[in-house]
């Protein structure tokens, strides 16, 4: 039992931090917020691909580096720290695990070499539970036809490949669920006008979309499909928790530094006990959420049976954390944090986005009530 990273993992983290300090300074994020110039964002992704980041969690047989969920999580954290605009989160933490469980060798190889990005379309009607999926899949000839609509799909308007979760008509709950890899040309995507453009969302309409058999990732009706889908959701949820907590840690560290530097009444504002106690509570919230996110990551890495509970606890704690840290981070910065020209708001909005995707704190507490046997 060990809740600290290995030396190799710490090296990976340090390297990732160094790379992003050079490749993703706030000016890159600002360009996404302010400009039509997509070059800085494209350059960032090209740099990450050169460093083989998309290959981290893919097995060597599929051209990957053969590392595990913890290593993916380390990169997710570092991207979250700087609010990096990148297809990594959707491609590596949402799409890739489904491709792996389906053994989609060709696509995995293309993710590993950076030529393919994608996302996962699971949410519908603003809900994130699999039972809420209404999109249907019916057999037609040798293939399938999908009908339905997806909401809040990360990178949904730009990802070339979308894993669509759908169910056999007439099924409910998690029975009858499956997943299909659909090329974006077959989907009508409407981009949402979002507050945080580093986490771009889209609504997807699937109108009698024909899918060939070789694009079935998890076949509806196959008794193994719901479990594989749930595992994928646990991973995506945990990754979103890791990302969100890392963003919160960056907000906290920025705010702490500000409290040390900013002087009023002839002394640093951080010397006032009213601020000290708030900063101590922010720190506690970050460490609490971070510890739970690592626990969830461990349950996924080791295929521990507690992964459903752990991922919901992690996401719930991440939600609690951003609620405190976003609010207090902004409040303690005072007027300067309220301005567009200060970079703080990139982090504040990223943390909020992270809370809303894959279920808020309250959504996951409701799940936990069931998992803990408190509600039927």
């Amino acid at each position: 039992m060990d809740f600290e990273f290995s030396d190799d993992q710490l090296d990976l983290r340090d390297n990732a931090r160094r790379v992003l300090a050079a490749e993703c300074p706030p000016s890159v994020v600002r360009s996404v917020y302010e400009g039509d110039d997509t070059a800085p964002q494209a350059d960032l992704w090209a740099a990450l691909v050169r460093l083989d980041w998309p290959a981290i969690g893919i097995t060597e047989e599929h051209g990957g580096m053969g590392l595990g969920f913890l290593e993916v999580g380390i990169v997710v954290e570092e991207l979250g720290r700087v609010a990096a605009p990148s297809p990594f989160l959707a491609t590596v933490t949402q799409l890739m695990p489904l491709l792996s469980s389906a053994g989609a060798a060709e696509h995995l190889t293309r993710i590993a070499d950076g030529s393919l990005t994608g996302t996962l379309a699971v949410g519908e009607h603003g809900r994130w539970d699999l039972a809420a999926v209404d999109t249907t899949a019916r057999r037609a000839g040798t293939g399938w036809v999908l009908d339905g609509a997806k909401t809040h799909v990360l990178d949904g308007a730009t990802a070339p490949e979308v894993a669509v979760v759908a169910r056999l008509d007439g099924t409910s709950g998690i029975d009858g669920l499956g997943a299909f890899l659909v090329p974006s040309e077959a989907i009508a995507a409407t981009p949402c006008t979002v507050m945080d453009p580093t986490m771009p969302l889209a609504t997807l309409a699937l109108d009698s979309v024909e899918v060939a058999t070789d694009r079935v990732l998890l076949e509806p009706g196959d008794p193994r499909s719901p479990d594989a889908l749930e595992r994928a959701i646990h991973g995506a949820t945990t990754a979103m928790a890791l990302s969100t907590v890392a963003t919160c840690r960056a907000i906290f560290e920025t705010t702490l530094q500000y409290a040390k530097d900013r002087e009023q009444f002839g002394r640093p504002i951080g010397s006032f006990q009213a601020l000290k106690h708030r900063l101590a509570d922010m720190y506690l919230a970050v460490e609490r959420a971070s510890s739970l996110a690592y626990f969830a990551a461990l349950t996924i890495a080791e295929d521990d049976e507690r992964r459903a509970v752990a991922s919901s606890m992690a996401k719930s704690a991440a939600g609690d954390c951003q609620r405190l840290v976003v609010g207090d981070g902004l409040q303690l910065h005072g007027g300067i944090g309220f301005t567009w020209e200060n970079d703080l708001h990139f982090l504040l909005k990223r943390a909020k986005s992270g809370d809303l995707l894959f279920g808020t704190a309250a959504f996951h507490r409701a799940r936990l009530a069931t998992l803990l046997g408190l509600t039927p």
Partner: protein
């Protein structure tokens, strides 16, 4: 990072479990003679501490001559967890084994070790810790109990308060002022005082729940004469020794608190269906949400503890440790409060003491409302939550002192 324990650690766990199963005092024996104070060691507790000492299970990280087996940090962590699961404490005199004996081993003379520390480890005597005073609580260094050198003796005058176990303890590890001419931190010394010395009066301070078993006391010292050889460490160096405790168990003081929390959570999860049965759907949803939040808090406490432990075990610093006391005590308080509120009007009934009556050992016991009131012992003592936040802000986060 990994969740699983090594095979060698699992083997250690099995050996401990077997030994505990064969040697632990029976719940019936414990119930027949409950410990009524942290200074009180019933016969079963004395025999048990001695048995653990002889078998090398008292402080596993120590060498055999001190009741250990040179176990490593991860084994010690497993030991703490298994012991807590058994619901049997190493000793009823927690401050004696946890703070006083290790401090004497670290700073005391060979004579003090054999006369005071070893008898604690063998379960023969109990000790109390004389720190707080009416004028020195959170500001402990302001203590004014005075020890004046007089030939081969010290003469001590003053008053201590909140002294756990003083009503039964055999001796006191007493913090005294020995120099009034220097800044407050620099004039404090530690003296071992036999509690039967003339001039000592102990007045128990019954607590707000279960006043029949007081653990806290006022201790009045009037012209108490103590041999100068009972000075621990150097004169006026007491403040530096105030934090001395089981250094190698430093990363694990949270374990019993978290295990207590988990045990209380289990009880809450068992009680919740009964408590929520009378509610309509709307109220039930609100009640259950609070229970879930506590379940998350409880898991977080364990994960935070593990994270800090992992860093310490590698010889690094672990800021998580500073959070643990604050967090675990506040979660424990919220847990009891949530439980009592969900319980409804029945919560006001006074309960009976658990038959194994471990008042002093801080187990979940009594009604939920009693547990709520009792939980303030841990948010107030040993550095109140407000002091903990100052410590985190200044020592961990590096914020300037006010």
């Amino acid at each position: 990072m990994r969740l699983r324990f090594d095979d060698s650690v699992e083997a250690f766990r099995s050996e401990l479990r077997e030994w505990l199963a064969a040697n632990r005092p029976t719940p019936a024996a414990m119930a027949a003679e409950p410990s009524v104070s942290t200074g009180h060691a019933p016969e079963w507790a004395r025999r048990w501490t001695r048995a653990m000492f002889d078998a090398g299970w008292l402080v596993p990280g120590w060498p055999p001559e001190l009741g250990g087996r040179n176990a490593g940090p991860i084994e010690t962590l497993v030991y703490m967890e298994e012991l807590a699961k058994e619901r049997v404490p190493r000793t009823t005199n927690v401050q004696g084994l946890g703070i006083v004996a290790p401090s004497i081993l670290d700073y005391g003379t060979p004579e003090q070790v054999s006369a005071y520390a070893m008898p604690i480890l063998r379960g023969e005597v109990t000790a109390c810790l004389g720190m707080s005073e009416p004028g020195a609580g959170s500001d402990l260094a302001a203590l004014s109990t005075r020890a004046v050198r007089d030939g081969d003796n010290f003469v001590i005058n003053g008053q201590k308060v909140w002294t756990s176990g003083a009503n039964y303890a055999d001796f006191c590890y007493l913090f005294c002022r020995t120099d009034t001419s220097v800044p407050k931190h620099k004039g404090i010394s530690i003296i071992l005082v036999d509690m039967h010395t003339p001039g000592i009066t102990v007045r128990p301070l019954p607590e707000i729940v279960h006043p029949e078993h007081p653990d806290l006391n006022e201790v009045f010292l009037t012209d108490v004469v103590v041999p100068a050889s009972n000075l621990v460490g150097e004169l006026n160096n007491g403040w530096a020794m105030a934090n001395g405790s089981l250094a190698h168990e430093r990363g694990m003081v949270w374990v019993s608190g978290v295990m207590n929390l988990e045990e209380a959570l289990e009880k809450l999860l068992r009680d919740a269906p009964t408590f929520t049965a009378r509610m309509d759907e709307a109220e039930r949803v609100l009640a259950i949400d609070q229970v879930v939040q506590i379940a998350i808090d409880t898991m977080a406490a364990r994960c935070l503890g593990y994270r800090g432990f992992a860093k310490l075990a590698r010889g690094g610093s672990a800021p998580e440790q500073a959070l643990m006391k604050l967090y675990a005590s506040e979660v424990r308080q919220r847990l009891a409060l949530v439980a009592a509120e969900i319980q409804g009007a029945d919560a006001v009934e006074i309960g009976t003491v658990d038959p194994d009556g471990h008042h002093a050992i801080d187990e979940p016991q009594g009604t939920w409302l009693e547990q709520y009131f009792h939980s303030f012992a841990n948010t107030i003592s040993a550095g109140a939550s407000e002091i903990q936040r100052n410590i985190i802000a200044e020592r961990v986060l590096g914020l300037p002192r006010s």
